[in-house]
């Protein structure tokens, strides 16, 4: 029975996220369009609402080009991994607050629930970079793809560390690695008010970890054509986008759970608050895209290792000290 429920949940989550990815592209084009005083997609359907469906059908029928010198098995593996691991991270994200049933059991709105949720999500996020890495290797010596995935590897290693260090402060305060416990610990005041530095570091690191503007160095169009995706076409390239957009959802949900109190909030019901926070983060991604220019590569590394890392280490030292002697954390 439990296995059956888990399978049904899994199918629902994958379907919902796939539709979400399709409409996230529409939403981004629309928002960016209005930010740049354009209209955005408008022709296909009402306000362009059928545009993502048309794009998906188009990408199915594109010619699938595989370079002669490509490493064939790895060339197939790369897009598959790039889409699989973000979905694997997403199954640990709750879609609504847990439901306390009449017979004393708790119904979780996430497929996979354990005591170490945060570590699981971090692990899957780290593995998601392998899709990009293999894409560069498998492209058969294409310089653009190779440079793109090289950058991705360095960026992921740097910012994964910042992400984990920034998460450590709320974990220390909540005494738990489980998402429900962390939300429960924020009943009175959200962690963003206790840990403003950790929150800023987390937001910067989460944009870098998903490789979006202003940190989209792996696919910097003016320098690298399309970075790691240069040699991929049709549905294979679509899978990379799938992975990236699901990852944006995962980190947005993680940020709203860990720093903004998840489903806690006044007046409105919990689930509404939760989704308002997630959608605000997803809007923030688009907003940054329309606002910031791209950072240079050495600046990207400087931000991680010279600014955020020392700041986060000091922050953890202070949080630990304050918790140990019973001082107020801020």
């Amino acid at each position: 029975m439990e296995v059956l429920i888990a399978i049904i949940k899994l199918i629902i989550v994958v379907t919902v996220l796939s539709v979400y990815v399709m409409y996230a592209t529409w939403y981004e084009r629309k928002v960016i369009g209005h930010m740049q005083q354009r209209i955005g997609p408008k022709r296909v359907g009402w306000h362009g609402l059928l545009q993502p469906i048309a794009d998906t059908i188009k990408s199915f029928w594109k010619e699938d080009v595989i370079p002669d010198r490509a490493d064939k098995p790895l060339f197939w593996l790369a897009p598959a991994l790039a889409a699989t691991f973000p979905f694997a991270a997403a199954i640990a994200i709750p879609f609504a607050p847990p439901l306390h049933l009449a017979n004393g059991k708790v119904f979780y709105f996430s497929v996979f629930h354990s005591k170490v949720d945060i570590l699981y999500i971090l692990g899957m996020m780290g593995l998601a970079s392998f899709g990009v890495l293999i894409a560069g290797i498998a492209s058969g010596g294409s310089k653009y793809a190779f440079t793109g995935s090289q950058r991705e590897a360095a960026q992921i290693v740097s910012y994964e560390a910042i992400l984990a260090l920034a998460l450590l402060n709320p974990i220390l305060m909540a005494h738990s690695l489980s998402l429900e416990k962390i939300v429960e610990a924020q009943r009175h005041l959200w962690f963003v008010f206790y840990q403003p530095f950790a929150f800023v570091a987390f937001v910067i690191a989460m944009i870098a970890a998903t490789a979006r503007v202003p940190f989209d160095l792996p696919e910097a169009e003016p320098e690298l054509v399309a970075g790691h995706m240069t040699e991929f076409s049709g549905l294979k390239m679509g899978l990379f986008f799938f992975g990236q957009y699901v990852m944006i959802f995962v980190v947005s949900a993680l940020a709203s759970i860990v720093f903004l109190g998840g489903w806690t909030g006044p007046v409105l019901p919990g689930v509404v608050w939760y989704w308002i926070k997630i959608l605000a983060f997803i809007f923030m991604y688009t907003w940054f895209w329309g606002t910031f220019p791209r950072y240079r590569y050495d600046q990207l590394m400087d931000i991680a290792w010279k600014a955020l890392l020392p700041l986060m280490v000091l922050n953890i030292l202070w949080t630990g000290f304050a918790l140990a002697v019973g001082l107020p954390v801020l």
Partner: protein
Amino acid sequence: MEGIMFYIISAITVGGALGVLLSKDPYRAAMWMIFSFFGIAGLFVMLHAQFNAMLQIIVYAGAIAVMIMLVMMIMDRRTIESLKRFNSQFYWPALIGLALFADLAFLAYKFKIDTSNAGKNLAINGSNTQMIGEVLFKHYLLPFEVTAIILLVALIGAVVLTKKDIS
């Protein structure tokens, strides 16, 4: 059920390790290594040590394997292609591995290991994050700190060795 899962996971672990040895392409060898790490994480999960399993994935598959890939990507392409799988001294570690295998096989034979226990959680109390923290920071604090210092020394040593031109 547990037995079947155990055999699948151990097949993944051993198969991944064999893939590392037998694949010609160093990148593919790195991929096989990650596959093997996944198997080890699965073994930890079967022992109810979820914390160790997740650390196995984050640290080894997520960080160390990415570092290995990064180093190979920075190296010259022709250097990588000219690398041989075995050098002239490969039989020494092979002998050690064979001796270890013989040792384990002998122990399994001597103590008549019951294969019907395969996959059962025989650990005393499982394990969890809090217990690991308590053991590390209450009972073994000094060895833990010494390990940290040793790692720091290795880190600084690597920097000093590679940055010879700094006066």
